[in-house]
Amino acid sequence: MTEITGLSDKILGWFGTPEPASLQRSKLLRSSLTTPYNKGHHYYALFTAYATFLVIIAGALVTSNEAGLAVPDWPTSFHTFRMPRMVGGVLYEHGHRMIAGFTILLTLGITIYTLLVDRRGWMKKLAIAGFLTIIVQAILGGITVLNFLPPAVSTAHALVGQTFFCIAVAIALLTGRKYAGEVEKTAVDRRKPSLIGLTLLSVLVLYVQLALGGMFRHKGMSWEPHVFNAIVVAIVLTWTSIRVLSYYSQVEALRRPAVTMLGLVMVQLCLGFISFLTKVVWGKDAVQPMPMMVWSTVAHVAVGALLLATAVVLAIQAWRHVPVLSEEPVHSTKAVIA
């Protein structure tokens, strides 16, 4: 595909035609992507992303164990900042708060680190956006506890949490050695819908699915919309992955997230089915959260977060490696030939 792009550029050069405007834009954007690789920065960003994933698992454990109101106040726990007795629902709710608090500190750290070492202006903005997102997330956590878990607020808490996870993963990706030093293998995408369009559609349908799942989990909606939208998600994500594997499999940065996404879709569908059985079919009259229901739903949330983050990574890599060639310069080329 790189060869194709090179050839098209040469042909355009013979006719004295300027580079397509979209490619120029793309090159300009890519030139702003460079910064010296900083191992400490990258590893810190990776650690923050892992910690965020842990917060998501801890949050899922809170909901699955019906422990969202085990600590009735916020930001204190039982009107103090001292450690409470970690039993029953308090173990999950206070544990979630502790890991989340630690992640806020990590995020503050990565923001300052990025402002200090990263040359890219948009990267600094991304780090600041990440910090603001986790602050909003913490406030949403407090609002939902103080208002007895309204489904809309609890779902917003889930959405913003996963958005922050995507930002943390993006920062880890964009500070990586490969991202800083890799020679780009640009391939031009002339298909419709474009690959970048498909990856963005994947992110969108995953967000919708997350919102529907959150509303169901927080008792604001029945299970049907979430289950039916799972079919849409499976189709869109499979389509996106197959597009990558069919046309861009030689680009490792695209192939790996596409294969991961395809694998995660299958795992997620299985986990969704098990969660449906344990929560809706077998567990509807359960007297307490059953271990099988807890672990299947927590795994479903965790894999959902990984799936969303993978879709975001794929979108970033598609934007980087496969610029969309608009039709405007093609017309101008024809005009010159004529």
């Binding site: 164990n65 109101l69 085990a70 009259d285 007297v287 307490q288």
Partner: protein, 253 residues
């Protein structure tokens, strides 16, 4: 000068009378039993009954309390269906509507028992209380509990109660049937509170029996409500000094 002093004293008296002393209306609102009427014991009637369960009840499920060692080792079972020899316990029976009786409100005829948290269970599992009357909540356990009523007609609240702490005393001002009360620290802990405007209510005992005492003669609609099986109603008329029977039967679902 003297006139000024007298005027000032009169103003002060007026001010203190307006601010420090509650009006008779306020006093009555604080203690609803003061304005309530007692039913004439010479004409008061009683209704007794038994609530039966038809079919095979679900087997009581054992609760795993391993999350908190302080809950103790006494076995704890789900109390959704407590059936003994075909008789159903924990059914709330109350007067849903009344006609041809004197205007209320009426004096409470039952003493509302406290809610006790013991062995990480609520005792009792179903409770009734009149609107505006106090409910006392006791924590007899060596662990902290949360008391979280979830009414739909009034505001929720969620308070934690330390081990063997002072009782929490609350009032419920709006009538509502089967308000779930949960402990969010121990997710299996659940009970139901019923808040009603009239004093004629009861909860069936382990033999499915209930008794509504001290009803004025009139026409009543009785309702029997179970947390899983829903509501059944029955119309019944009682005359002076009557002792009537009203039995209900719930079928397995």
């Amino acid at each position: 000068m003297r006139t000024t002093i007298v005027l000032l004293a009169a103003l002060l008296l007026c001010f203190s009378a307006c601010t420090s002393k509650p009006s008779s209306n306020q006093e009555q609102a604080a203690n609803p039993s003061q304005q309530a009427k007692a039913v004439d014991p010479e004409t008061a009637a009683n209704i007794t009954g038994v609530v039966s369960f038809q079919g095979t009840p679900p087997k009581p499920r054992k609760i795993d309390m391993g999350q908190d060692p302080a809950c103790g080792t006494q076995p704890n079972y789900d109390e959704s269906y407590v059936v003994k020899e075909g008789k159903l316990a924990n059914v709330f029976v109350y007067v849903k509507a009344a006609e041809n009786i004197p205007a209320g409100p009426f004096v409470a005829v039952n003493v509302t028992r406290p809610i006790e948290q013991q062995g990480c269970r609520y005792h009792p599992h179903v409770l009734g209380v009149m609107t505006g009357h106090e409910v006392t909540i006791i924590n007899a356990d060596d662990t902290t509990h949360n008391i979280h009523p979830m009414p739909t007609e009034s505001k929720q609240w969620n308070e934690s109660q330390l081990p063997k702490a002072e009782p929490i005393v609350k009032k419920f001002d709006k009538p509502e049937i089967m308000i779930p009360i949960k402990c969010n620290q121990h997710p299996w802990m659940k009970m139901y509170l019923n808040v009603v405007d009239t004093p004629w209510f009861a909860v069936t005992d382990e033999n499915g029996k209930f008794e509504l005492k001290g009803l004025p003669p009139g026409d009543y609609t009785l309702a029997a409500v179970h947390e899983k099986l829903g509501e059944q109603t029955m119309k019944i008329s009682v005359g002076p000094k009557d002792s009537k029977t009203a039995d209900f039967t719930f079928k397995a679902q």
